[in-house]
Symmetry: C2
Subunit: 200 residues, 2 copies
Amino acid sequence: MSRSAPYDRDTAIDAAMALFWQKGFHATSLKDLEAKLAMKPGSIYAAFTSKEKLYLLALERYFAQSRSGFREQVARAASPLEAMADHLRAYARLAPNDMSRQACMLTKTLIDTRATDPTIAAMTRDYLTAIQNEFAAVFAAAKEAGELADDADPDRLARRFQANVTALRLALHQGMAAKDFAQLSEDMAAEIENLRVKLA
Amino acid sequence: MSRSAPYDRDTAIDAAMALFWQKGFHATSLKDLEAKLAMKPGSIYAAFTSKEKLYLLALERYFAQSRSGFREQVARAASPLEAMADHLRAYARLAPNDMSRQACMLTKTLIDTRATDPTIAAMTRDYLTAIQNEFAAVFAAAKEAGELADDADPDRLARRFQANVTALRLALHQGMAAKDFAQLSEDMAAEIENLRVKLA
């Protein structure tokens, strides 16, 4: 793969993301990468330097896609608070073969690398914080719009929300029955809607 | 290690549990096990057959310890509902060097092995279900004792509770600041206490 082939590079990073997300950093072998990327070992190293560097590129891609997907959901929603409730409910509507029916790649990465690869773990923490800040910004917008009480704390709500999202995605990963999963996501969405300031 | 040394075998399984819990199934090498268990490779295989079998023994130990720890908490608590709220708050009181300041070994295992080791993943799902059933039994006792409304669904509450515990432990694993973590566990404990039927 030459530097003049950005399309191929992009495709290769997407393929690496899907593979790493599924198998994890440690369980993914160079042989797995060769097959998935349809590249020879020499080309993989020439293009990406190391398995760790390729992993970091795949993780960056995952983060960027997650963030832009969330921002699109927010832009389409009836209000900031509705966007947050909808985000939780959306997990119950994922297609059977959707890649997001596994735990969040950031969660998986932190579990897989905290004790073994500080560089990847530190990058993952930064992305998790950035996502939490995205959530906090929407709660702040909900407060600004009068949907939340004046004493609502967007950062606190964002931490609670991120905990809920993480847990939901682990329940999907675990293979929770569809009916139970819909109920769980609905319980979490209802908590968000209960935050809404009642109009007098 | 001979079969006539149950104490050593027990100690070895404890040591394997600590190592596997920290590093994960895939990232733990035979060399790591040799060092941690202070056993030669031949002795490890003679005693435990394979890395997978030793992992399953370590996981069983983790499950048994988690369950008995939870049952002791319940036995000490003022009431079933208080036991559940206390369980969430207890994570904010863990000692700085407590092994439980990392994600639950069952969560870590499912993430590490779902795509790569079906035997371990299936065993993990069974343990997670068994823990969920422990939680449901305590909610059922709370209902029986009149702490919960007549229409409370112990299984539904147990799924929500397990999601909260999983998320709390991932927040610890991620290294959330102590103040924020205490607030998050308190928010979850308050949700449990809000379920309490108000006396007229």
